[in-house]
């Protein structure tokens, strides 16, 4: 019962915190640019406004176009819910598998690319094809990191990974460090952050994610925006769960442990948002054709991580 309640708390927490995190990143970026920036609550207001607005559909939009926002949001919300955030043994922890996570994210991306092409505008098509290119480069890197962690812990279950790293003194390993760098690059690419895509632009030639969702309006757009906010939260939680699991509650019966888990999770999110804002301000967007090298680098680092694992365990 308690487990189920806490799982529900996690579901609610994700949706409640995601806009705040996005607001925090925007605010920090604005401050770093010496602007005052919008309030931290602005993303909530944006979402509410979009929810109240009327949906404008192109005349040739099919049922796919109308259902996909719900599919995307549901897939990403579920994916985020299986990542252990503040505690390890929640109700969904049996399904919380890294490969399932990659699959959920991939299906959300596939649906969104279909929606981008559905209406038949050229921007949607460009956005979809670029998104697919980025995905085809980022996914192998993500899987390499998954394999590395799985080899180290001998499991692909996320709560088990976090548990193992919390209880066993693994120390700092070359493999884990390389995997962390690789996963950070993947996270930037998957969340359409700056060296790969610019989340704030509507400039025709550079946008990827925004080009795909250009035709959406009203509550559909609200859902898609919320989904990308939850996705950002998901990646920060994932990195925190796999590489920095400290503070996570292992005993759900202990209210103090749960409170500590919640507190440390909040601190990790704030820290992740801060690092992201700092990184995004200090770097320029990359040309689309250089992405292959950037993400290829992530894949190679993932491969190196797996290789070094054999050095330390080998023979």
């Amino acid at each position: 019962m308690r487990v189920a309640l806490l799982e529900l708390l996690q579901f609610a927490l994700l949706v409640a915190l995601a806009p705040l995190l996005t607001g925090l990143v925007r605010k920090l970026k604005a401050r770093l640019n010496a602007r005052i920036g919008p309030s931290l609550l602005q993303p909530y207001r944006d979402l509410l406004r979009l929810l109240r607005k009327e949906v404008v559909l192109a005349p040739n939009a099919s049922w796919l176009f109308r259902t996909i926002p719900y599919v995307v949001f549901a897939a990403i919300w579920l994916a985020a819910a299986i990542v252990p955030t503040f505690a390890t043994g929640l109700a969904l922890s049996r399904t919380a598998d890294l490969i399932a996570l990659v699959a959920l994210l991939a299906s959300a991306r596939f649906a969104l690319a279909l929606a981008g092409m559905d209406v038949g505008t050229s921007f949607g098509g460009i956005g979809a094809s670029r998104e697919m290119m980025i995905a085809s480069l980022a996914e192998p890197a993500m899987l390499m990191v998954t394999f590395t962690v799985a080899l180290l812990v001998r499991s692909t279950s996320l709560p088990h990974i976090a548990d193992y790293l919390l209880t066993h003194n693994v120390g700092i390993r070359i493999s884990l460090l390389l995997g962390l760098v690789s996963l950070l690059i993947v996270a930037l690419a998957e969340n359409a952050r700056i060296p790969v895509d610019n989340p704030a632009t509507h400039l025709e030639l550079t946008m990827v994610h925004e080009a795909m969702v250009l035709e959406y309006s009203g509550r559909h757009l609200a859902l898609i925006e919320a989904a990308s906010m939850v996705k950002l939260l998901l990646y920060i939680s994932l990195i925190a769960a796999v590489f920095f699991p400290w503070g996570m509650a292992r005993d759900l019966g202990d209210a103090r442990a749960v409170a500590l888990g919640l507190l440390s999770y909040g601190a990790k999110l704030a820290l992740g948002g801060g690092v992201l804002a700092l990184f995004e301000t200090s770097i320029a967007k990359m040309r689309v054709f250089r992405l292959a090298e950037f993400l290829g680098g992530a894949f190679l680092l993932g491969l190196l991580a797996a290789l070094f694992l054999y050095v330390s365990q080998g023979l």
């Binding site: 120390g171 070359i174 460090l177 090298e293 680098g297 190196l304 290789l307 050095v311 330390s312």
Partner: protein
């Protein structure tokens, strides 16, 4: 797994890894000044690694190695190369003999090779020595790779010096290496010598003379 999860090893690990990652960053970077900055960071981390080993092994002479790495490699050489680039008005974008993607792939293959080499040799020693040695050997091989794949003299020199960083990394990681100090001094002098040697060689090759006057005339014509 024995030998892990103690602070000295952990910190040494982090530093080794970062040096290796910066070797890859060198292969990835296309701008000359970017290459110099990354090289300076690598030397700084090498100095930190040497200092840490000096503290962890209680071997004061390694502090000297760290100092040499810090002063010569992290500060003087990058600044000198920077000034040479500005002075010689060299093209700032590096032409690579091989594409960046292909270079990185070869780089990973070289790391795999160095792991395969290190594994059978170090069966008796612990996992830490193995990982450190593998990382150091990889840095050496990546430096060689950088020298092969770059057409620009400056980046070739940087490749050579990053190779030497790998050698020192291997030397400081192993206990009881009193020769390290002398070796690193000798190497630093040699590095400086090679920097100028390569430059003079390239300049002479291009202008048939080392005379500054001829170079000025040449630059004047190009403008």
């Amino acid at each position: 797994m024995p030998g892990f999860a103690t602070l000295p090893y952990d910190v040494a690990h982090v530093l080794d890894t970062l040096v290796l990652v910066l070797s890859f960053a060198l292969l990835y970077q296309r701008r000359l000044f970017g290459v110099l900055t990354i090289y300076a960071w690598q030397a700084l981390l090498l100095a930190a690694a040497a200092a840490w080993q000096a503290y962890a092994q209680d071997a004061p002479h390694l502090y000297i190695t760290a100092g040499i790495a810090l002063v010569f490699k992290a500060i003087i050489i990058p600044i000198a190369l920077h000034r040479i680039i500005v002075y010689l008005d060299i093209h700032r974008t590096i032409e690579t003999a091989l594409g960046v993607g292909a270079t990185l792939t070869v780089g990973v293959a070289l790391v795999a090779l160095s792991i395969l080499l290190v594994l059978p040799v170090t069966t008796a020693s612990g996992a830490l020595t193995r990982e450190s040695l593998a990382a150091a050997l990889s840095v050496v091989l990546l430096g060689l790779l950088m020298m092969i794949t770059r057409r620009n003299a400056v980046s070739q020199v940087v490749g050579f010096m990053s190779l030497e960083n790998g050698l020192i990394l291997a030397a400081v990681g192993v206990k009881g290496m009193p020769l390290v100090v002398e070796l690193s001094i000798a190497f630093s002098v040699m590095v400086a010598f090679i920097i100028f040697g390569v430059f003079f060689f390239h300049i002479r090759e291009r202008f048939d003379t080392l005379d500054i006057h001829d170079m000025e005339r040449f630059r004047g014509e190009r403008r």
